[in-house]
């Protein structure tokens, strides 16, 4: 109990790391619900990996002496975020164009992209041994080094993303659910798709830089899956998924801190636990409801 209270205190040494992971836990599922609804779950695997390759590429440039943003370690980090965003954005653009054309096998394209990103990440690190430690930390999902300034910048960006996801939920829902209807209503489907993909790219690149690709993939897919059976509309779906993500991040952080385990894998395991509980309770709830209806029907068959 004392450890629990300790990590909640504002002077807790790793408070930015805690708030950062919980924030990512809250925001990523808001974007992830559209991966699930549009049946693009595999994008959720490939894009964080592409983002990682972007970060590795930035570290490689630094290692090779190309100081695009010369100066402190903070600026190295900013370059990594920009590179990660550009890689992710380009990958989304290519996938979206190919998806719209409707030719070829969608899963095959994503598989190729995933393999290429993995290979790219390893090669970029191999060309820059100095970046290896940082990349290993990133892959494990270590975020202890997040600074005050970075944290506030992240808070602003994720705040804007959350606001966009709620303010434009009707538009995102309509263009995802029924594109033809959206066009007949005079909606700019391409414009809304671009905005959604831009938000996806931004969330993934910032998230990967904060908690690593494994956790981002986990947050994009697992909380929305846990929330789906209980959702009664797009707002409740968003809120429930976001809550599951935030809860998993907080609990994962607590377990990781108290048991001295790597943060990323612990968060993903906790999120999977939440998913299992959700599925199980929903299944039991459905059976109980069915039984109750049968009993009612037996007691008063004519009503």
């Amino acid at each position: 109990m004392s450890t629990f209270l300790q990590i909640l205190r504002p002077d807790f040494l790793l408070h930015h790391a805690l708030y950062g992971s919980v924030m990512v836990g809250f925001v990523c599922p808001l974007v992830g619900i559209y991966f699930l609804l549009r049946r693009l779950v595999f994008w959720g695997i490939a894009l964080p990996q592409v983002s990682t390759a972007g970060i590795a590429f930035a570290f490689m440039l630094q290692g090779l002496g190309f100081h695009v943003l010369s100066g402190s370690g903070n600026q190295e980090k900013h370059l990594a975020i920009i590179s990660s965003f550009l890689f992710t954005g380009l990958a989304i653009l290519i996938l979206a164009i190919l998806e719209r054309r409707g030719k070829g096998i969608s899963e095959g394209r994503i598989g190729v992209l995933y393999a290429l990103s993995w290979a790219g990440s390893i090669l970029f690190v191999a060309w820059n041994a100095a970046g290896e430690t940082e990349m290993l930390g990133l892959l494990k999902g270590e975020i202890v080094s997040i600074s005050e300034r970075d944290f506030h910048a992240m808070l602003d960006v994720f705040g804007i993303i959350t606001a966009c996801m709620f303010f434009f939920r009707k538009e995102f829902l309509l263009v995802s659910y029924d594109r033809d209807m959206a066009i007949t209503l005079g909606r700019n489907v391409l414009g809304w798709d671009i905005l959604l993909y831009f938000i996806v790219g931004l969330t993934i690149s910032l998230g990967v830089m904060t908690v690593g690709p494994l956790v981002i993939f986990g947050f994009l897919v697992i909380p929305p899956m846990a929330a789906l059976p209980w959702a009664r509309g797009i707002i409740s779906f968003s809120l429930l998924a976001s809550f599951c993500g935030g809860l998993s991040a907080f609990t994962g952080f607590y377990v990781s801190y108290t048991r001295d385990l790597p943060l990323g894998p612990v968060i993903v395991c906790v999120a999977c636990g939440v998913l299992c509980i959700s599925m199980l309770t929903h299944s039991i709830g459905c059976r109980v409801k069915k039984q109750a209806l049968l009993v009612l029907d037996h007691v008063a068959p004519h009503q």
Binding site: L37, L173, Y177, D178, M181, I183, R232, G233
Partner: protein, 233 residues
Amino acid sequence: MSEPLLRLKHASLGYGEQPILTGVDVEVQPGSFIGILGHNGSGKTTLLKTILNLIPCLKGQCVWQGATPDSLRFGYVPQKEKLDPIYPLSAFDVAAMGTYHRFALRIKNKAFIHRCLADCGAAHLTDKRYSDLSGGQKQRVLIARALAAEPQILTLDEPLAGIDITTQKAVLKLLKHLKEERGLTILMVSHRIQAEKGLFTHIVWCDEGKVISGPTPEMLANSKLAEVFKTEL
């Protein structure tokens, strides 16, 4: 005769560079109930999508009253199988999508959506999950969604596919009622005609890349088509 709501002039329709229908001349008069008929793969849905401006004409012209497609308000009822059941939406949520083009007050919108559902005999379905509804119930909700767009032209893509005869009759009765009460212009894609022929004021027949259209009595009297309508559709 009044000015048509839209007119296709010598149009070639299709996807990419591949025309599916050529030399299409079709007029949609206000207040008409048009049946777009033909066998599977004959281009019925392609014709409907061109009218809705979802795909462009490859050749020729599509002229909308008021010059642009945005000047006409369409209500669109897609084939119900096209909508993914994974979405956790209630019947109300689905019907509400029809109002997503306007920024009306929330309360006014809510009452209006309830009225659209009630007009389609779906008031009791409001809170039910859309994916749990039967085929006929889904169709009613989709028609309510199209009405929520306050359309001048209601377009339906195979609304009777996959539902039983009784429900088909109920849906047709609803469409007839909407046409008479609201004076809607209706375009309906179908690959059958027996139950609907009394409703259609005009028939557009798609076959082998060509389109023949005209008032229903004239089309039924066409010796070539009469045989097709009697036996195959």
